[in-house]
Amino acid sequence: MSKTDDTQTPTTAGTRTGTGTDRTSIRVDDPIMEIRNASVTFDMERGESRVLDDVSLDIERDEILGIVGESGSGKSMFASALLDAVVNPGILSGEVTYRPRGDAEVDVLGLSPEELRELRWEEISMVFQGAQSSFNPTITIRAHFEETIEAHNYNMEQAMAHARELLSDLYMDPDRVLDSYPHELSGGMQQRTLIALSLVLEPNVLVMDEPTAALDLLMQRSILSLLEDLQEKYDLSIVFITHDLPLVAGLADRLAVMYAFEFVEVGPAGDLIGNPTHPYTRSLLKAVPNLDTPLAEMRPIDGMAPDPVDVPQGCSYHPRCPLADETCRAEDPAYHSVSPDHQSACFHWEDSAEAIPLSTGGDERGGGDGEMRAFAGNQSDEPVVSLENVDVHFDQVADGGLLSVFQEPDTVHAVDDISLDVYENDVVTLVGESGCGKTTLGKAVIGAQRPTDGTVAYRGQDIWEAKDSRRGADIPYEHIRRSLQMIHQDPGSSLNPNRKVQASLEAPLKRWEPDMDPDDRQERILSLLEYVGMSPPGDYAQRYPHQLSGGEKQRVALIRALLMNPDVILADEAVSALDVSLRVEVMDLMLELQDLFDTSYVFISHNLSNARYFSGKAGGRIGVMYLGELVEIGPAEQIINDPQHPYTKVLRWSTADLDIEETVEDPPLRGIDIPDPVDPPSGCRFHTRCPEAREACTREQPTLGGHGDGTEHETACFREYDESHEYWDSEPVVEDDADATADDESGSWGHANE
């Protein structure tokens, strides 16, 4: 796929191996693990593939070491190397030394199979990304614990007691979890259970490979805060591997940034975030959507990460680096000490701050706001799509069987009584945890989901009436259908794998412009491909989806939607599956095309940073959903900087920012797991988890209301009601933590509200 990537200098892996300079390894005072010159290679037809390149690093006792890198940077290989668990046919060379307290050092790579078996899980343990796929689906959780304990000849009773304690530490009911089968637990519970399983033999080192990547931000953040508690309680050294720099920034003691199969910068978390010296680290900080960096400063990194067979000679980052010169192209830089414990593999580490300016500090938000266009005034007065009291309820019916005809179905309230207007050139971002109904609401907006109650109107014409009547509608259904399009979440399934890009893009044109000349059709497609940066377009048009990267697939999906010339595009987590550094790029492209095509977006995200970037940049709104209800909606920066609803505050808390002074604190929440949407709580649905909940909340449901400040900021919470509301007189629901309900809400919020 790299053949069109002209930014890469072609080199061979062979020449690269020879240039390895004798790098200073990064040492710490009391290492629990030392990794020296570790490499992992695969023999492939095209040559040797080096997916971990001569890496040296120490892990300090009782520290949390965050390892950050994009997908394909070799970070998972590093994790596997720590346990000598590189998958065949990969070959691991170098040294990995484990130093248990007091004992002599252990040469991990020289152990016999039995010794290695004992080292794993008893001393060094690991948590994997996909919790669901880490469990045997046919045996209970209890069996997983018991077989592990048995295999290592631990005392069953004591170890199981420890397992229960761990599960309780992770906010779960041990009995329920142990008796469950893996598929009966939610994703967040599975991941926490996996953490408990990895700690059951009381290891000293815990290696976590993207342990939270598949989870909601809120769950990620909750797990992180629990992890910090566990680390203190059990004296763990944790290696936390992630692609998400802001996530780990507040948690880790030290950070190591990986690029192209080696560490480019290592240092204490504070230094690395506050004073990054490697150009890649700096660019990464700018590229990652977060809540702090001014929007205007966020910028994607140009170019692509190198192929493991074809790593550029010299500094592997030089093709993408603005500071690169002849030295960088010829020589592999050694580590330069920024400070005794902060090292950077860059010749120009002293100049990088100037070349790639970065503002992380206290007053950045003011700077960002100036560039925002004003919220009111740029949208039409008349909404394009208007939802009124829309309900979407799903009946959960068992699969196709004989008896399903007679069953009483469970009703899931995916969307409950929501009204929303989408204007021309509007951007509305819907955020919330998975299962909150944001996708369903989005689909209702574009007429892809028939509401069970309420109306969805396109320019005043009820969409479903138009569809059912066919004739007689003011605006024919066909026109409405064209005008409302969608981009899906998963780039892997957004394009038909059996059709070439050209065929996929021709389909909408053939449908709506059957008379169009084939040459014109092709030209239109090629020019759009070129416009979104897929060059040469003729080559891309003839590719199958599997020959495209995730970002390229999303671009094609975007073009396909735009070919319909739609009024509204639903972008369902359209950038979530992309690498962090690509997200800003794709979001920029979407906004740019909005300008050209006069399109509105309904953007769905579980990530408040992406929501802020997307809605903020276009001056749009953010709507916060919880269990099928819209609990708060308003202009992007207001939602981010001045959240009113307790749930929005929780989401705000869950979105890690780059402020490393902040440690991960306990979540402002009373329960980690979302209630069952089949049987939502009475009254305000959030009252079961809300720190501010009072007795009134359990009975009555608050409605969306404005703040009387002239903006369109609305919140569905009794705390926004005036003082005569019974909420203020009723008893707090919080039994043990009365302080949390004090009127001074900012007290528990401190830095988050500034």
């Binding site: 196709g400 064209r482 038909n496 040459d519």
Partner: protein, 366 residues
């Protein structure tokens, strides 16, 4: 609008003419004038009708053939199948039909060149019998396999794509049909109907054989239906038949083809078995009839002398069914876009590396 603050670098990327291009694209609806507006930015030129035609041939004829040929199982399998098809089409013209008393009785095989496989107890040439039994056999196989596949695809796709009540009813019916043991049901129907046309026999034999396949296709359709690209097509207003044809069916093709071949094989098994038992009426020459005659009247079981009479049709069946299995094992690759991409653009040596880099990626992630 245009008040959106864009990053400088994306700002200066689009050439001036692009604004027009996109704006033009923005007024697609009914704008036939756009046909006259060339897109200045297109560099690669356009394809002539002939190029396009060649590309289609390459994509749909040449490439699948190349892929088939690259797998030894598919290669051997298709050669065997081809041999039988030739036997049923050309063979019947070349080889004279068997006649009573054309040779001595019970000539052993490989002794007399005019009777390569020997003769039966009436002096009929066995090789000629086998050759002339092929056309009705092929008709039966095609009828059965087509019937199975069409029924299964129609019921499975309808049930899976429509869902709801249609799905429930179809699947309840389907499950019952699936549970009834095929052979006894076929026997009962055959006894009652006494079918004579090979086409009809093929259909009767697969009377409920399609049900299992229909269920399998349904569950595949259920998965495919949830794919984003299917929803995207639906939202683009593309009609359901079009979606089924373009988005659903290609994903099912490997599965359908493999099952088409497998049902062909089970038609052979069942029909020969039924002719052998004498349950289906003897109308024409048939491998099963040959077995029946040698078994019942020739007393093949008691002597070695008639063994070849019994063995010849049995070996004929085994080889054909072996060829069909090999073929089905090797064909699913034809529909794999990863393999296709390699074979349609054979001129591009780098394409082949795609799978490999994918492999590395999985290693890294793993």
């Amino acid at each position: 609008m245009g008040t959106v603050k864009r990053t400088e670098e994306t700002d200066d990327r689009p050439p001036a003419s692009l604004e027009e291009t996109i704006a033009d694209g923005g007024t697609i609806a009914g704008d036939e004038a756009s046909a006259d507006t060339p897109f200045g930015t297109v560099s690669s030129g356009t394809m002539s009708r002939r190029d396009r035609y060649e590309m289609l041939v390459n994509e749909w004829v040449v490439a699948p053939f190349k892929i088939l040929w690259s797998d030894w199982r598919a290669r051997v399998g298709s050669l065997i199948i081809l041999a039988y098809v030739l036997m049923g089409t050309v063979g019947v013209r070349v080889v004279d039909p068997p006649r009573v008393g054309e040779g001595d009785r019970l000539v052993s095989p490989f002794e007399d060149l005019s009777h390569p496989l020997g003769t039966d107890n009436m002096g009929n040439d066995i090789f000629a019998q086998i050759v002339h039994a092929t056309p009705p056999m092929l008709e039966m196989i095609v009828a059965g396999a087509v019937f199975t596949t069409v029924m299964a695809v129609v019921v499975g796709t309808l049930s899976g794509y429509k869902g709801g009540r249609t799905d429930q009813l179809l699947m309840t019916f389907n499950d019952i049909l699936m549970t009834i043991p095929g052979l006894p049901l076929v026997i009962v129907i055959a006894v009652i109907l006494e079918p004579r046309s090979p086409w009809l026999v093929g259909v009767i034999i697969t009377v409920n054989a399609w049900a299992g396949l229909a269920r399998a296709i349904r569950s595949q359709v259920l998965t495919l239906r949830e794919e984003s690209y299917v929803e995207a097509s639906r939202l683009m207003g593309i009609s359901t038949p079009q979606i089924v044809m373009k988005d659903i069916m290609p994903g099912l093709m490997p599965y359908i083809l493999v099952n088409f071949v497998n049902s062909a094989r089970s038609v052979i098994f069942a029909s020969v078995g039924l002719y052998f038992l004498g349950i289906l009426p003897f109308t024409e020459l048939n491998w099963g009839v040959m077995m029946n005659l040698s078994y019942e009247t020739g007393g093949a079981l008691y002597t070695w002398e008639t063994a070849h009479w019994l063995l010849a049709p049995m070996i004929t069946i085994v080889i054909l069914s072996f060829g069909l299995i090999l073929f089905s094992q090797g064909t699913d690759r034809v529909f794999n876009p990863r393999v296709r991409a390699r074979h349609t653009s054979a001129a591009d040596p780098e394409e082949g590396d795609d799978d490999m880099s994918g492999e590395v990626a999985t290693h890294i992630r793993g």
